[in-house]
Every structure is written in C-alpha cells, then in structure tokens.
Symmetry: C2
Subunit: 340 residues, 2 copies
Amino acid sequence: MNLVPPNGRRPTMKDVAAMAGVSLSTVSRVVNGSPPVAPELAVKVERAVEMLGYRHNHTAGTLRRANGLSGSLGLIIEDVSNPFFSAVHRGIEEVARTRSVVTFAGSSDEDAEREHALIEAVLARRVDGLIVVPTAADHTYLLRDVANGLGLVFVDRPAQSIDADSVLSDNRGGAQRAVEHLLAHGHRRIAFVGPPPTLYTARERLAGYRAALAPAGLSELVRHAVEPADAYGAVLGLLDSDHAPTALFTSQNLITIEALRALHGRGRQHEIAHVGFDDIVLASAIDPAVTVIAQDPVGLGRAAAELLFSRLDGFVGPSRRVELPTPLVVRGSGELRPPG
Amino acid sequence: MNLVPPNGRRPTMKDVAAMAGVSLSTVSRVVNGSPPVAPELAVKVERAVEMLGYRHNHTAGTLRRANGLSGSLGLIIEDVSNPFFSAVHRGIEEVARTRSVVTFAGSSDEDAEREHALIEAVLARRVDGLIVVPTAADHTYLLRDVANGLGLVFVDRPAQSIDADSVLSDNRGGAQRAVEHLLAHGHRRIAFVGPPPTLYTARERLAGYRAALAPAGLSELVRHAVEPADAYGAVLGLLDSDHAPTALFTSQNLITIEALRALHGRGRQHEIAHVGFDDIVLASAIDPAVTVIAQDPVGLGRAAAELLFSRLDGFVGPSRRVELPTPLVVRGSGELRPPG
DNA sequence: CTGTTAGCGCTTTCAG
DNA sequence: CTGAAAGCGCTAACAG
C-alpha cells in the first residue's frame, strides 16, 4: 500500500502517465475531472495515482491555467491571536471553504512596514485576493495589482488612500447608542475611556459618544489610554476625582476588561453604570453582568469574503461599503441608575 | 508613477528584461539579489521593475529552484478563532516570519474529513511543512510526503498512527498539580468536571486528577460535559447533591467559564475552592480571582515551528517529543479552605 | 560578469 | 475520445 518511491522525488503526472500507459493530457483530464475520458482509462490512471502516491501540484497548474487562479487568498490582520480578528478570519474561512480556497493569514502588529512585507510575500505566492485590516496610510501600490485582477477588500477600517471595497462595523452608531442608553437611565456625568483617536475605529466611537452628549447639552469627560493597561489607572482616577462620573463608557475590548478590574477592585461595580464596546467572554458570569455593544466579527469576515469573491467572479461595479449593525446587549451593568 | 500597463496582463521578467535591455537571467539575478551583477545593469533592471510594477512570481520559481521550497507552510488547528489555537498560530508565525515563510491556516472543526480535505488542499499548494492539531486517527497517508521532504509536526496532541515530531503540554502533570494543590489546602471531596476522555488532552487531565487522588486514598467524583455548556448544569448538580464537593477542578477553558457562571450564579464562589486548567481572560478581575494551571500556547507554536524548520534544515534524527510545563498560577479561588 | 538554453509540472490548443 | 506539442514564469547550468 504505502510504497515510498525509491528516489526522494515526488511523483509527477509524467510518472503517472507512464505507469498507466496513457498520455499526459489524459492524466490531466482524469485528475481534474474534466471529461470526456473513457472509464477504463480513468480507472488505470486512478490506480497509478494510488500506487505512486501522486499528489497534484496545483501551483504548477496555476502557471498554465486559463484563469490563472491559485485558489488562495491572503489575510492581513492586526494579530491572528486577537479574538476579534481571529473571528474575522473564521468568517472568511467559512465562505472560502465553499470554494476550496485556502487562506494565508498573518499579523501586521499595527506596523505599516510589517503589513507591507506580508502583502508582498503573499502576492509573490500569487494569491487571488487580499483581505486587509489596514494599518498603513498608503496602499496605492496595490492599484496595479487590482487592475491586473487582484481582489482587494478592507475590513474593520476603510483604506485611506485608495478606493476599494470595505466592510465595517457601525462604530459611531454603536457608541452613540451606548451613551444614549446611559442617558436614558438618568446619568448626566458619563465618562469615556478609550484609546486615543489615532485609529479609525477609536475616532468613530469617540464621535459617537460626543454625538450622544451634545443634544443633551452635557459636557464630555474623556480619558485616553495609550495602552489598554493604562485604562486601569484612568478609571481609578475618575472614581477618585471630585466630580466623579456616575457612568462609564469604555470603547474597546481590552479597555473594558481593565475598567472591570478597577471597578471590582474598588467594589464600585454596583454603583457605577458601565457599557463597553465589544462583547467579552465571561461578561455574563460576573456580577453585575456587563452590558455591551456587540460587534459581529465573524459576519465582518463573511461579508468581506463575499465581496472579494464577487469581484473574482467578474463583478466590475464601483467600490462597495458594507456596514454591519452593532446592537446593544443589555445585561445589567448598563442599567444601574445614578444615586439619588 | 502608477502607470497601469495597457493590457490586463501582469508584467513578467521577460517584460522587465526587454525594457531594461538585458537578458532574463540578469533580471533573475537582480530580483533574487544574487550577485555578481554590474551595478549599472542592476539599476536599469530596478528602474524597469519600478516602471512596470513587476511583481516576482515566487511560485513559478519554486518549480525550477534547486531546493524546491515554496516558503509556505500549512497549519491545521481545531478552530482558528479559538483563543488557545490562535495563540499557537501566533507562535508559529513568530518563527516563520524570521524566515520569510507564510502560513496557510485552517480549521478542522474536530472533523477528520475536513482535516483531510484541508491537508490535501495545502499540500496541492506545495507547502514545505505541515503543523497539525490532529483530529483524525489515521495519518499514514502523509508518510510518503514526509519521505519526499515534507516537514510534519503534531501539536497539542500526539498523532496516533504515525511516528512524527510533536509538541505537547504537560497535561497530566498539570492536572495532578492542581488537585494536589487542593488537597494541600485540606480538601477531601474534590470533583472533576471536564469533557469525556475521547480526546488525548482530556484523557491525560483525567489521569492526572486520579493520580493525585489515589495516594491520598480518596474516591473520585467525576462529571463529564459533552458540550461545554453542559458543565453549567453539572456544577449546579454537584452543589445540590447530598455529598457535595468542597472543591472543583475544571479541566478546560470553556468548562471553567461555565463553572464560574454556576458558582457565581449561586453565590458559592467564596465557599467552593476552584482550580481550572487553562488560563482565562478576566481570571484576575473576578472575585475571587481564579487559580489556574496555565498552558503556553504561543510557546507550543514556537516549539512546533522550530522542530519543523530543523527538519527542513536537514535534521534527520528520530522523531522528537517536546513537552511544555504547565505551571500553577495562584490567584485565590484555589486557596479557599473547606468549611470546618 | 552576462546571455543562451533547457526544463520544472502542469494545462491547453490542435490534430488525429 | 486521445495524444503530441507548445508554453505558463521562472532558475540553473553552461558557454562566452
């Protein structure tokens, strides 16, 4: 059964053809399941394939194939091990799988150079498309590739320099809804704790916070955390200040977690209302359960892949922008009322 | 700057050679940075590359290159969006990056057929190596590929059917240490809640639990949760039983989370001691903070990649098995003493 | 130091 | 329905 061929050479179609006593083209036809081919020949070929342990070299085929597709795509995210982005990956995989397309995945670590190196690396492996969570400000160098047929979709944040398909969450709307929810529960001093507005998503969420406060005529109370860990101190500082807030809006995953540590550390979790942006594991296990604005990262990935494949399928319209809703998930912490 | 070539054809080395007025081989030498090449010619080539927006086709080179390496590898894990496995992915990426190797990543979803399809897909794209969290019982079909130079490493669980390099956590030792820790704090009735022992890791952890109880002459109290969600009910059942345990060992990530929900839901988190296998986010935010046995998934990935590349670098010794330590992280929940 | 040539493994006309 | 032959984009001898 498992005869290892004498030499260390992988068997090729030529070897299969020789063993089966047919021509190269017949092997190709059988391997690619493209009739017409006589059943008896097909059987002979299949037997030879089995015997030799022949493995199709899809990349060699790509070189010659009419459409030139490699059946692969590149995914560049901030970090493959960040649960948010790995969920995006998962969504992409779900639709790529239906087309037998495999995915190169890599982390940019929010570093433009690294992003660029990764993109070049996967492009050199001739991926059919690219899905990118953009970090770099300039992506014009991809324009030529797109003109030459590369599929390109940006996800989570829009590209700044070029016009391309993109899939985003409703960041601003979600943040606004979170703050309006706190307002509706009687809060007048609502603090914002989040990363500085360098990234698109951070800017949008801050804008949402402001959009909610403005019509109420309330003044803002903003604390920026450069590193997520900074949020811990920021929240403690807010709790200790003269004019302490009665409610907290934390604009991101890791910052919400730090805020929880601070709140619980001080035993104030039942007094200070809190809504976080991004759902977190254990949000419903702790007391009070954490009210959040939920994103749908898997949906983000799915939508990005759909857009990408529609291009590869020949869609040539103008660039599209899909925005996914960010519903409020009520669990308890966001429904605490201010004292008095 | 960004002249898109008139036709939709990607420029090739031939185009570059023609524009630069040199031969194909000279272009190849410049592109691959393999001297000797006259500086003036190099400049001409580089200019032409720039003008045309030439992009190297690394896969075409693979076909002809002496070593035949594609500079890519395949990673098959249970789920790309599971934080544990995506951390493994991250570890692999860290070492692959130093060699400019990119990674195909896909999810087997604990399904042997899917695993097989994925492996075939990446093999057809001629990856240099494969890192697999095995689900299928049989991997003998990979033997021939390994004989033909494929690097192969199993991670998190050993392969059952073939002899290959593998990287594991010390599952049994970690579980044993967890239970011994609870014994040392005076507990005599310690329950085990975990998945049924179908998977290697589950079996090992259960064995560790038993290995700790046996010398103490204590009887076991085991509850299996087929789905993580089942652990919630299982823990409630234990709490309500006549001979309720005073301590809990939960043998996995998601099960620990469900147990926490149950414990906190009943307000028993300060009475029942609890140690979980696998670290979890927010473990230190809740009260009491959760004592765990920590794995090092990033280290698992790094080690797997090191083993893989050592093979590609020509190492030909017998198969190696690396086992990573699983330290106890003391935080509070595991140090509660039994009543009385 | 540079160019010519053969050919990697495959798909695709094009004849038979 | 099957085979022969050309050639995808590239690298590696080998001459010059």
